[in-house]
């Protein structure tokens, strides 16, 4: 795409203003009572008609959570969260589970259309199957038939619990155990929905799979759980997008994503996170406290995380790879923008366990306004990971003198033959670059958009095409008002 034209378009949309996904859908909802206790956990499990083992699993998680303390080590600050002052279940009222899109409430379909995610297959984005999650539940999954022909399972996790309990039971919590951390424990107790993917042996998933998360209701948290299993020799590319209405309260999003790649399998997981960031004064916005982790269990398996984090009041997540299989590969490509009062503490962990495991980390942090942006990462190499390799590049860009950019990498190596390289830079947009662009006729904001897109190029090129375009626009929008 010609970058200049794209940037101009972007800036126009900036001028039109603000967070354009901030509308609210008026739809009849069913809520669990506010608060969190064992009864709520039982309520959610019952609503979902879950088997006994899953209820027990949730209750165990809840018991663990009650003994845990909310972590405060990240470089973010927020007032205490009242975990009792939220609904842990909110769902659009529906008579029965929709069998097809025709049975889905038209208001919901219109919501997703407004968000640019047309669920009707005739209007679908070319070749992308979508699972749409609205507050607590999955409302629709497209392209199911086509995928079923390949033996691919792509459905909501609630549905998978009913239709493929053996897979769910085998893998749920096998990468992120219930006691992993405070928010993962909370999620394990109260998760309401999310996506489930299983790619059979040797199958290359013929289309991008996508989940679109939408928080709509007030005073709700969203706790989705995603589980992706790529069996031996398979390939899948998975996309995740998120938005929420503008509200002056903070809403909690505590998701868990688990990926499992067996021998020779590849999972590519891309996120464009655009939760409501709060207003310029820092009122409202989503607390995005997410646990994402992939296990490269098989030899020569590969997990690649790409994320563009532009939204949320606070982002706190570290998509990680456990490189168990020999010759397995982990990748993490990240762009995180913080503007106004946004805070982000994000990065990755690469655990090198198998021989000749390789990992690549490319992180681009952009701070503007009063934003605080932290890269935090761990590269850990065990004594048995002979021949392991890591390369890390962390770059930070500062726009304005009220923001902060921080880099906190941890390198722990116990293997003689391992090789680790880490580089980090912090800089601002050079005056001569800005001047050069402006001398060629670009406004300052256009020039910044252009330069920021260039700064993020290495990451954006990892995104599937449709997402890359959207991500570029988001970058510029997120930087609105940061110049001049």
């Amino acid at each position: 795409m010609p970058a200049v034209a794209e940037t101009i378009e972007t800036v126009q949309s900036v001028q039109e203003g603000g967070y354009k996904w901030g509308f609210e859908t008026d739809i009849e909802m069913e809520f669990a009572p506010k608060g969190l206790n064992e009864d709520i956990v039982r309520f959610i499990s019952k609503k979902k008609n879950e088997p006994e083992w899953l209820l027990e699993w949730r209750l165990k998680a809840f018991a663990l959570w009650r003994k845990m303390e909310e972590p405060r080590w990240a470089a973010v600050s927020f007032p205490p969260i009242d975990y009792q002052d939220a609904h842990y279940y909110a769902a659009p009222k529906q008579k029965a589970a929709p069998k097809s899109l025709d049975e889905v409430d038209p208001e919901l379909l219109r919501t997703y259309e407004k968000l640019g995610i047309p669920l009707r297959e005739q209007e679908r984005l070319q070749g992308i199957a979508v699972d749409a999650v609205f507050d607590s539940v999955s409302v629709a999954t497209t392209f199911k038939d086509r995928l079923e022909k390949e033996g691919i399972i792509f459905c909501s996790i609630s549905e998978a619990v009913q239709s493929h309990p053996e897979l769910v039971r085998e893998y749920l919590g096998s990468v992120v155990p219930q006691a992993d951390n405070f928010f993962a424990a909370l999620n394990s107790a109260v998760f309401t929905d999310g996506s489930f993917v299983y790619i059979p042996k040797g199958v290359r998933c013929p289309m991008e799979l996508s989940t679109y998360f939408r928080i709509n209701a007030k005073s709700t948290g969203q706790f989705e759980r995603t589980l992706i299993i790529a069996d031996a020799g398979s390939y899948v590319s998975y996309l995740e997008g998120c938005t929420a209405p503008m509200r002056d309260e903070n809403q909690l999003h505590a998701a868990v994503v688990e990926l499992i790649a067996l021998d020779d399998a590849t999972i590519k997981y891309s996120t464009v996170q655009n939760w409501y960031p709060g207003d310029a004064e820092g009122r409202g916005g989503i607390y995005n406290f997410v646990t994402k982790r992939g296990a490269c269990r098989g030899a020569r398996s590969k997990i690649s995380w790409t994320q563009v984090e532009t939204g949320s009041a606070i982002t706190w997540k570290y998509p990680s790879c456990i490189l168990q299989g020999d010759d397995s590969v982990g990748e993490f490509y990240s762009v995180a923008i913080t503007n106004n009062r946004q805070q982000a503490d994000t990065g990755t962990k690469m655990f090198h366990i198998g021989r000749n495991t390789r990992s690549t980390i490319v992180s681009k942090g952009i701070s503007a306004g009063r934003g605080q942006n932290t890269y935090r990462g761990l590269v850990k190499i065990s004594p048995k990971a002979t021949g392991a390799r890591n390369f890390t590049q962390c770059d930070s860009l500062l726009i304005g003198d009220q923001c902060g950019a921080h880099t906190v990498p941890y390198i722990e190596n116990r293997c003689l033959s391992a090789k680790v390289e880490h580089e980090a830079t912090t800089s601002r947009i050079a005056e001569d670059q800005l001047f050069y662009c402006r001398q060629r006729g670009l406004s300052e904001e256009e020039a910044v958009g252009l330069i920021v897109n260039g700064f993020c190029r290495e990451v954006l090129k990892e995104l599937p095409m449709e997402f890359a375009v959207e991500a570029q626009k988001l970058l510029a929008i997120s930087l609105e008002g940061s110049v001049g």
Partner: protein, 426 residues
């Protein structure tokens, strides 16, 4: 936590018993300073690994021992290494040894214990609230109190710290105040030594003030005995246009930490921190740096190299903080580790924390073994494998040690590196 509390309790016990007898014990301001430090140390204890700054260095071997003070020793029984500079201040078990020292005229160099009143307002002025500094303040007995008058080029001076052999583990906490007046210059070469088999803790704290336009080169050669511990803290304040250069060799000791806090407090101040850690079987070496850019137009450079042999552990933690006022900061940090053994472990945590936008800051870290292609190239030219390895290790250290320009310091450093290689790695 229990082990830590026990270790801390032993130190607190020494303080309670000795406080009236410690230097300044009957002087109000000193007693108050020590009491505050004791309260802080009582609250913090010896830091455990759950404390982020200590996540890679475990003090339980120190906490497990009960240390006492050294007895007074006859100075003439000591054999000193040859002098490297015309002037030398010698400390034996943390106490100034006047008979062994030769202090330069023209500048004010003396025992802190003897001149404590003159240090009022200076002692503790730069202290950071870390447990090791608190421990030092609580129990220091002596130190070098050195003031270089404005404009004087004081040349080279040596600071020698020697631990003696004792039946029981001894601890000493010297407090050194080094102050350079505006435009003054000094090279200070500090060597710490100890007997091979003695268990002791050397916990020095340096408070270093470099006034406008002054320049201090501080070379630290840590060659403690192999059963010794050194936990050193250097606190430096660098004013406008001044330069503080620190080079630290960590080659001895069983468990050592070299912690440096340097604050660039005036425009165009500069700081260079370099270091080499040579870690062999049974050793743990930690370098932790904190560079605080608090003023505009300052530059800092850090290069640290760690070589690990045998069953050993090396740690590097380095933080560059750029405050909002510190526009046009130029900060660079590199830390590299070379592993020679399958049983070695290296942990690195470089860190940037930046609040100013017009800055150029970067850090890099690498970890790896000797390069097989380089080794083969050298051997194919007839150089025996062991020589080839030592050449590559020496080359690896080059960038860190080339900043040591003073000949005496460089000779001492080269000798220490060669000695380490022959003893530990060849």
């Amino acid at each position: 936590m229990n082990a830590m509390t026990t270790g801390a309790a032993a130190f607190l016990g020494r303080y309670e018993g000795l406080r009236a007898h410690l230097p300044g014990g009957r002087t109000d301001w000193v007693a108050a300073l020590r009491a505050d430090a004791a309260a802080q140390f009582r609250a913090q204890g010896l830091p455990g690994r759950q404390v982020e700054a200590w996540r890679y260095t475990d003090l339980s071997p120190i906490a497990a021992l009960g240390f006492t003070e050294a007895l007074t020793l006859a100075e003439e029984r000591l054999s000193l290494p040859a002098a490297r500079a015309p002037w030398r201040a010698v400390f034996v078990d943390g106490r100034f040894a006047a008979g062994l020292s030769s202090l330069p005229p023209g500048l004010s160099a003396r025992s802190l214990a003897a001149e404590l009143d003159a240090a009022r307002g200076l002692l503790g002025a730069l202290a950071e609230p870390t447990p090791m500094v608190a421990l030092n303040t609580m129990l220091f007995e002596d130190g070098l109190f050195l003031e270089v008058p404005p404009g004087l080029d004081a040349g080279v001076m040596e600071l020698l710290s020697i631990a003696t052999h004792a039946e029981r583990p001894i601890a000493f906490h010297p407090r050194h105040l080094i102050r350079l007046g505006a435009g003054a210059r000094l090279t200070l070469i500090e060597t710490s030594l100890g007997p091979a088999a003695a268990t002791y803790l050397h916990n020095p704290v340096f408070e270093i003030a470099v006034a406008e336009g002054a320049s201090l080169t501080h070379v630290r050669l840590q060659r403690e005995g192999r059963a010794g511990f050194q936990l050193a803290t250097v606190l430096a304040a660098v004013e406008a246009g001044a330069t503080y250069d620190n080079f630290t060799l960590n080659a001895g000791g069983r468990l050592v930490r070299n912690e440096i806090h340097a604050a660039l407090r005036g425009p165009k101040a500069a700081c260079h921190m370099n270091g080499a850690q040579l870690v062999a079987d049974g050793q743990h070496a930690d370098t932790t740096t904190f560079l605080d850019h608090a003023a505009p137009d300052c530059a800092s450079r850090q290069t640290y190299k760690t070589v690990l042999a045998g069953r050993s552990r090396g740690v590097f933690q380095g933080k560059i903080l750029v405050r909002q006022a510190a526009q046009r900061t130029d900060g660079y940090q590199m830390n590299q580790a070379l592993l020679l053994s399958e049983e070695a472990e290296i942990d690195a945590k470089p860190q940037l924390e930046i609040y100013a936008d017009d800055v150029k800051c970067s850090h890099g870290a690498t970890v790896g073994a000797l390069d097989e292609a380089q080794l083969f190239y050298l051997r194919a030219r007839g150089i025996p494998a062991a020589t080839a390895r030592s050449m590559l290790v020496e080359a690896f250290l080059t960038e860190a040690v080339e900043g040591v320009r003073d000949e005496a310091a460089r000779a001492a450093l080269d000798e220490a590196v060669a000695g380490w290689w022959e003893r530990e790695a060849a």
